[in-house]
Amino acid sequence: MKEATLFPLAFLLYILAAFFYFASHFSRREKLAKSGSAVALVGFLVHNLALILRTIETGHAPFTNMYESLSFFAWSTVLAMVIAERVFRFYRLSAYLMLIVIALMALASSPLMPKEAMPLVPALQSYWLWLHVSVTLLGEAFFAIAFVASILYLLALRKEKAGEKISNSLNPEKLDSLSYRAVAIGFPLFTLGGLVFGMVWANVAWGRYWSWDPKEVWSLITWFVFALYLHTRIVMGWKGRRSAWIAILGFLAALFTYFGVNYLLSGLHSYA
């Protein structure tokens, strides 16, 4: 078996899972969401296998070029979703999270992404690569959950305003609380992976823990935005709409840190 065959299989399973989740969404049958969750889990296991094979085939961590990194980000998002489904006992976010996962997998599969593995440049040969990237991306995956919850929150508010009935499982208060709980997991992970491990590794590899490189600065910006999210909530009582907007901005900042910096700005971090 090869990574090149397992990756599309995982992709297909994710599409199938999304199909179940949305079917559950529109038919309001909880059972379908459970099936979606099961299919997503199988997809996740296949994806695990794909990443392990990729690691064996290339001999290094499966996130050193854009193709691998996208695949790994999709994997983290599914992992975060699998955890969130179990911790929050809530499946309604999964349909939309699956859309993000599918977008990432599609981007990874596109012919624009060179798939062949290149040997690692000296700076990336470190176990800090594993710690730094995996923990950061997992943190960002939880930000993705907060993002989805926040968008659904704003939509639910709109429906409420328009006088439409909203199903119990999509009640705004619940979504607001889910968004917070996702940030409460994502923020410590992002702090650990992005900032702490990032500084430790930078110090080992480059001899300075902070260089104001654009990728570093954008991680800091993302961190600031979520710090704003936490403080406006806890000290100014900004629940709800404004909170949701900050979480959305925070995830967009994380996305920009991840993609935008590589393509639009130049700096030390441009390895891929």
Partner: protein, 449 residues
């Protein structure tokens, strides 16, 4: 003065500062930082001077950005310090002076009547609280009992520990900025260099570049030995990601290069006149050597990566031997027989420019220069604060988000052999689980006979 303090205690000010810092940081990633004046002129035209005046080209080191960071730190210090005393008081002196209406005003509250005497109710409650890891303070009279039961109170200090950690990291940054020492050492194999301020030297024993089968660089390895007062103290192979640490001086593999201006080349000389007129000679830059009785060769210049600039002047685009070229002059009997650039990659090129009236031609066969390794040396006393801050910040975040304080206040009153109980709970986070916890405790109490 007090209005100034009030200004800095305001969390709104903190939030405003955070927003300004965020926007300023974004600006700094849109304008390339730390480039030369010429580059900015080329890019921004007249705007360049303004950008430089506003320090937007060294934004993160600029006076105004540092001032923002300083105000942020000051705000954080004052905010955290002012909130600390009431928190410590809450920790050390649990309140036990409350009445049922106070408890009923809390978000989570229960009232019930137990078929127990006040003493047995007290006993039963303590047992339950103990089994659920609560600690409590109480106040008892003949007919009344108030209990304040709490657990995981360290959690209320999570945010303070995070804030302290951030201050520590900012402090570490200041120390690094003011007191760190950095230098680069370019070392040839066998060379010893004294490290400034360190009182010891380092010797590069050997340097090698490892390649992957496809020709890509795998690693650079410098074997370094620390020499102190003529004694060898430690040796280590320093490679990227594996620095050497000696007495807080860190040695990093940072770059490498060749002394191309002292290059030695090997030339192949061909003369059409003589059949056996092929000769290999080695010559160093600047050197003039005799090949035979009549012929002399001089190597004027060597460029590893030959290109022409806009004025058609040759220069080296990089230090990598991508297009090695040698400027050679050959004289025969004192007369110029050949003069021009020879290219290792394009041997036929030089034949286009033969010396006039001569049948002599030359090829650049080989070239070499001694390689050196660049070792980045740093001594940064700020790092210890940074790492302490990193550990503390994670500890604080764990406490703030996952060590959730719980406080339940009980008021019990003896009512003719029975006991009336009112309970009120305080929890700021994960309220659902706290509500369940309270219900469980109440249910356990009801079961006690």
């Amino acid at each position: 003065m007090s209005s100034l303090i009030r200004f800095f205690t305001s969390v709104k000010v903190a939030i405003t500062l955070l927003i300004i810092l965020t926007l300023a940081s974004i600006l700094g990633t849109l304008i390339p930082q730390g480039r030369s004046h010429e580059e900015y002129l080329l890019h921004y035209g007249q705007l360049a001077n303004l950008l430089e005046k506003l320090q937007l080209t060294k934004l993160y080191q600029s006076f105004w950005y540092l001032t923002l960071l300083f105000l942020f730190g000051l705000n954080l210090t004052i905010c955290t310090l002012l909130r600390l005393p009431p928190k410590i008081k809450r920790l050390l002196q649990p309140r036990v002076d409350f009445k049922p209406p106070d408890l009923e005003a809390l978000r989570f509250h229960h009232s019930l009547s137990l078929n127990l005497s006040l003493d047995s109710a007290d006993q039963a409650l303590r047992e339950i609280l103990k089994s659920r890891h609560y600690r409590w303070g109480e106040k008892k009279t003949e007919t009344e009992l108030t209990i304040n039961a709490r657990k995981r109170m360290a959690g209320i200090f999570g945010s303070d520990i995070v804030h302290l950690a951030i201050l520590l990291i900012l402090f570490g940054g200041i120390i690094s900025g003011l007191l760190s020492f950095r230098t680069d050492l370019a070392l040839h194999e066998g060379e010893v260099a004294e490290v400034a301020w360190a009182g010891f030297s380092v010797r590069l024993n050997s340097f090698e570049t490892e390649y992957y089968p496809n020709g890509q660089v795998k690693d650079w390895k410098s074997s370094l030995t620390v020499v102190e007062n003529g004694r060898e103290i430690v040796s280590k192979i320093v490679e990227v990601n594996h620095p050497l640490n000696h007495k807080n001086f860190m040695f990093y593999q940072s770059a490498y290069g060749w002394d191309w201006d002292k290059a030695e080349v090997e030339l192949l000389l061909r003369s059409a006149e003589a059949e056996a007129g092929e000769k290999r000679v080695k010559v160093k830059t600047g050197e003039k050597i005799k090949v035979d009785d009549e012929t002399e060769i001089q190597l004027h210049r060597f460029l590893p990566d030959f290109v022409l600039d806009e004025n058609k002047q040759p220069f080296s685009r990089s230090n990598e031997p991508n297009n090695p070229a040698a400027l050679v002059e050959i004289t025969k009997n004192g007369e110029k027989a050949f003069s021009g650039w020879l290219f290792a990659r394009f041997p036929e090129f030089s034949q286009l420019h033969p010396g006039k009236g001569s049948s002599l031609s030359a090829e650049l066969k080989n070239y070499s220069a001694s390689q050196y390794s660049v070792i980045h040396v740093s001594r940064d006393p700020g790092t210890r604060f940074i790492w302490a801050g990193c550990i503390l910040i994670m500890l604080g975040l764990a406490l703030a988000f996952y060590w959730l304080p719980r406080e339940i206040r009980f008021y019990l009153r003896s009512e003719g052999g029975r006991t009336a109980l009112t309970a009120g709970g305080i929890a700021t986070k994960n309220r659902e689980s706290f509500a369940k916890e309270m219900e469980t405790i109440i249910a356990l109490l009801r079961k006690k006979k």
